[in-house]
């Protein structure tokens, strides 16, 4: 019962703030609501007994990505962007694309309808409680999912190298 209440509380906060992120005129207000959404998602992770994921969610998304967002926002003129038109009035295209998206999601839900019925009482696996969440995530990442994990790290490395190359000042000899 308590978990259900918590889930709906966090879920409501996440959805409402997410809507506010895209409807606010002021980008800094959007960023603040984005922070609220990310925190609410971390809360949902907590109700699922995934405290490691919740911690990582906050440190990576709020402490890292949101800070960088705000950092970039401060460098642009917010006053001007407030008065600019927020939507570019392309109703027809928007309607078509969102209709396609809705059909896709509905099809996905229909295909996976069997998994929507949850067992009445969700108990965390006994092993997770005994070993601890972080150990389990670590074991899963470095055994069953080693290859995807390494591919992700190479992808990030490529992104870092790319950013350095783009930001580097060129010496006269290179040009």
């Amino acid at each position: 019962m308590l978990e259900l209440i918590l889930f709906y509380t966090f879920g409501t906060i996440a959805v409402v703030s997410a809507i506010l992120v895209i409807t606010r005129h002021n980008v800094v207000h959007s960023a603040a609501f984005l922070g609220a959404t990310l925190f609410a998602v971390a809360g949902i992770f907590l109700t699922l007994q995934a405290e490691f994921l919740a911690g990582v969610q906050v440190i990576v998304y709020v402490g890292g990505i949101l800070v960088l967002f705000v950092f970039v926002i401060m460098l642009i003129a917010v006053e001007r962007s407030v008065h600019e038109r927020q939507y570019n009035r392309q109703r027809t295209i928007a309607l078509i694309t969102s209709a396609i998206l809705i059909v896709e999601i509905a099809y996905g839900l229909y295909r996976g309808r069997d998994s929507l019925i949850l067992p009445s009482i969700v108990t965390p696996p006994a092993a997770a409680a005994a070993v601890g969440n972080s150990e389990q995530v670590g074991t899963a990442l470095y055994t069953s999912y080693l290859l995807p994990f390494e591919i992700a790290s190479i992808l990030l490395l490529v992104a870092i190298v790319g950013a350095v190359v783009l930001a580097k000042k060129r010496t006269p000899a290179e040009e």
Partner: protein, 350 residues
């Protein structure tokens, strides 16, 4: 009934005590800062309010409460109000996982009471992630003031935090490898089992952690976000009265957090010196009531003094020097420390 007492009443009382002790220590710290500054500069410091100036924090607090609360005309009112709170709350809720003493504390009326509010199995991660949120308050506050100096302070703050947080995280990993747990209580217990504090195994890790910790809390010599000699008062230039005091509280509370973390991770937490040596005198020390709290507090005070001492002895880094130190020295050194520790642990244990 027992459930209500164990899971609601006792934690509530503990939270109440911890909150008030931290707030009280912050008040004393403002006095300590001025006194230490005075001693280092061969002055007396505040002497007029109460004997030896001891009531100065009270007078300061009263003054801040009564001052006019100004919101600049061009400021973004919502964000301006919200920002100090975003800064303050994380600094205080981190104390929920700091272990001031062992789990088997003492018993009152049949209820076992431990020396901490809670023990999370992701303790270290919780502290890192929550304290990384406080910076958003600083950035938003600087932006919402709609004024040049706060904006510059906020920009510096963002760049500084992002650079030093990475090295801070890496500097802790050495300890995590040795202890094999993210829980702060288990880390101290591992130090007890090992027989010595981790600072002797991780001296590099400790120096990196404390240096990055000072940068994270915006204290000299890394206090570029406020840099009073160039930016007036940095991100909080436009703040006055109570709102300003919230920023002030947050800064001092995070100083205490970093000191507590340094003590817990590297200096044996609540353990007395020579935790594995048993002799009549040393065992007698353990028998004193509240001994763990005494050792913990004594160690924390040393680090807080170091904080004040650094502020009044070292000049501030220039902005490019700050970035250079962070990315070219602290981060590679922290990574090397992780690799060396991991290899040594594998060789010696396997």
């Amino acid at each position: 009934m027992d459930f209500a007492i164990d899971y609601i009443l006792i934690p509530f009382i503990k939270i109440f005590i911890v909150f008030n002790v931290v707030a009280g220590v912050v008040a004393l710290l403002t006095l300590a800062e001025r006194k230490v500054a005075a001693w280092i500069q061969v002055r007396l410091g505040p002497m007029r309010v109460g004997p030896y100036g001891i009531l100065q924090p009270l007078a300061d607090g009263l003054k801040l409460m009564l001052k006019e609360d100004i919101v600049p005309a061009g400021a973004d009112k919502w964000i301006f109000t919200l920002a100090p709170v975003i800064s303050l709350v994380p600094a205080f809720i981190v104390f929920a996982v700091i272990p001031f003493g062992p789990a088997d504390g003492f018993t009152i009326l049949g209820h076992k009471i431990s020396y901490f509010i809670t023990d999370l199995n992701i303790g270290v991660l919780y502290v890192l992630s929550i304290s990384s949120v406080g910076i958003i308050g600083i950035i938003l506050g600087g932006w919402a003031s709609n004024s040049k100096y706060p904006l510059l302070g906020a920009l510096r703050s963002a760049a500084q935090m992002v650079s030093y947080e990475v090295a801070l995280g890496f500097s802790i990993i050495g300890v995590l490898i040795l202890a094999g747990s993210l829980s702060l209580v288990k880390i101290v217990e591992a130090q007890k089992a090992a027989g010595f504090w981790y600072v002797f195994l991780q001296p590099v890790g400790f120096i990196l952690f404390f240096a990055c910790g000072i940068a994270e809390t915006n204290r000299a010599p890394f206090d570029l976000p406020e840099a009073e000699s160039e930016l007036v008062a940095g991100f909080h230039t436009e703040y006055s009265g109570f709102r300003f005091s919230l920023y002030f509280l947050a800064e001092y509370a995070s100083m205490i957090v970093v000191s507590c973390m340094a003590v817990t991770l590297f200096w044996g937490g609540w353990l007395r010196p020579f935790p594995s040596v048993h002799s009549v005198v040393l065992d007698f020390l353990d028998a004193i009531p509240l001994a763990p709290l005494f050792w913990f507090a004594a160690k924390v005070v040393v680090f807080i003094y170091a904080y004040l001492w650094f502020r009044w002895t070292w000049p501030r880094y220039r902005y490019d020097q700050l970035m250079k130190v962070g990315w070219q020295w602290l981060l590679p050194l922290a990574m090397a420390n992780v690799i060396v520790t991991a290899v040594l642990v594998l060789l010696l244990k396997g």
